[in-house]
């Protein structure tokens, strides 16, 4: 099945298409179509495959002093907000954190399971597990369930003997080591703020403010993110929760309301 796209050509081609190199560029535009009887159904299934990320904004980055982890707290079921107080930063153990994006139950269950495995590793080997090792444990489990519908987009952040560590692990079985990640439907907005303000040599206060701002801006523009912006810091002595601020209040903190002169005059006129 091929569509007639002669209407898309703006002018008749005068140059002969003998040359192989430029042939593709000068060919008339056309849409490639799948070989399918049920085109509509095929499209519906294709859209399901590339469905937008679950409603969430989480981010984590490594800087000079350690790792900063931040997340919003909204859970949505379609268009309904099922909770505004979901804990999306999961405390795996006193020196490792995991973030939650995707299916809440999947993330909660497998992070708890990871915490158990990390503890067993400590008991068996008389030393703490590395962030590399912990993320690999989780990635291997998720890979074994690949294709079965689990939805997990998580970052494992921690401090081990090699220093700060940050890995992105997802339910497709992917595992990436990195220094800056943001996961969720609000991540494009968070990346914008995070990438433009990031410097490796930030202090803890500057880094936590950057993380908080990035989450705030994502919740402002993304309907599926909101609630409370939590910021955690992971340092050599373990993780510490730095702040938990309602994003509605953060909005007025960043955009203070000053009554205009006209409003003030009108208030006086209607006074007693």
């Amino acid at each position: 099945m091929k569509l007639d796209t002669s209407g898309l050509e703006s002018f008749p081609s005068l140059i002969s298409h003998g040359n192989d190199v430029v042939g593709e560029f000068e060919a008339p535009p056309s849409f490639e179509l799948p070989n399918s009887n049920d085109f509509d159904g095929f499209l519906k299934e294709a859209i399901q495959m590339v469905k937008p990320a679950k409603g969430t904004t989480t981010l984590a980055f490594i800087f000079k002093e350690g790792v900063m982890v931040a997340a919003d707290s909204r859970a949505s079921m379609g268009g309904y907000i099922s909770s505004q107080s979901v804990k999306k930063i999961i405390e795996i153990n006193p020196y490792m954190l995991g973030t939650m994006a995707g299916g809440a139950a999947d993330c909660q269950f497998w992070h708890r399971n990871l915490g158990i495995k990390c503890r067993l590793h400590e008991l068996a080997n008389k030393r703490r597990i590395s962030v590399t090792g912990a993320s690999k444990l989780l990635a291997n489990i998720l890979y074994s369930y690949r294709g079965m519908g689990l939805s997990v987009g998580t970052m494992i952040a921690g401090w081990d003997e090699t220093g700060p560590g940050l890995y992105y692990v997802d339910s497709e079985g992917g595992r990436l080591k990195g220094t800056r990640f943001s996961v969720g439907s609000g991540s494009p907005y968070a990346y914008g703020v995070l990438d433009s303000g990031y410097k490796y040599d930030m202090s803890i206060e500057e880094a936590s403010e950057l993380a908080r701002r990035a989450i705030y801006h994502a919740t402002f523009r993304d309907g599926a993110s909101g609630g409370v912006a939590s910021v955690y810091y992971v340092g050599p002595t373990g993780w510490k929760k730095l702040s938990g601020d309602d994003v509605g209040e953060l909005h007025y903190h960043y955009n203070p309301v000053t009554p205009s002169t006209v409003e003030q005059e009108m208030v006086e006129a209607t006074g007693p």
Binding site: M77, V86, L150, V228, K241, L242, G244
Partner: protein, 223 residues
């Protein structure tokens, strides 16, 4: 070749709504008693509430066959725990057990939307709210079921408690007294009954406090 779709589903939705509110030293759990399928009412007199432990009560809406099976599984696990640890399970422990039980059927879920209510080890009211596959959180109040989208905004308006994620932390339990909370629950169900066809008939309220457990019933519209 278009995808074949099943003609039979193992699930059904029997409707109904549940609510739980946590107080400083009490917990109120309530559910209507209507059981329906499609546009038919199967019975006006079905309890969705089950007492799992001395200080722990669960209310579940959704597919009642799955709910019944879930209640039985939890009782059995609780009995095992009592034999092994020589004590009853606390409400937060039961909450974790329920979450795990639900998740172990992640690929063929219990079609049950639960709220768990009770008193924690300090005697403070606690409410845990769940989705069908076991994700849970401790909250000050919650509602689940067919009327939850009608009930939740009203509870948010009356009871909106500060999020437990805020730092510095603020207490999540409602400042209401026990009688005020029970009155609120009655009001909430009367309103939900007006606009949700699956909610009505009778309201069963369970109140848990330091002196034990108490039940109250109230008539709701039967249409």
């Amino acid at each position: 070749m278009t995808k074949q779709h099943a003609n039979w589903s193992p699930y059904d939705n029997n409707g109904g709504s549940c609510v739980a509110i946590a107080g400083a030293d009490y917990c109120v759990i309530a559910a209507d008693t209507r059981m329906s399928t499609g546009y038919n009412i199967l019975t006006r007199d079905y309890s969705k509430i089950s007492q799992l432990a001395e200080k722990c009560v669960m209310a579940s809406s959704g597919f009642q066959a799955d709910v019944k099976a879930l209640q039985k599984v939890l009782s059995a696990k609780h009995l095992t725990y009592q034999h092994q640890h020589n004590k009853e399970m606390s409400c937060p422990a039961m909450a974790q057990l329920l979450s795990n039980t639900l998740y172990y059927k992640r690929f063929f879920p219990y079609y049950a939307f639960n709220v768990l209510g009770g008193l924690d080890s300090e005697g403070k009211g606690c409410v845990f709210t769940y989705d069908a596959v076991g994700s849970y959180e401790r909250v000050g109040y919650s509602s689940q079921g067919s009327g939850s989208t009608l009930i939740m905004p009203f509870l948010d308006n009356q009871l909106k408690s500060p999020s437990p994620l805020l730092l510095p932390a603020k207490d999540a339990v409602t400042p209401l007294s026990e009688t005020e909370a029970v009155d609120l629950v009655k009001t909430v169900f009367a309103s939900a009954t007006e606009r949700d066809i699956y909610t009505g008939d009778n309201l069963e309220i369970v109140i848990l406090n330091a002196s034990g457990i108490r039940r109250e019933y109230m008539d709701l519209r039967k249409d």
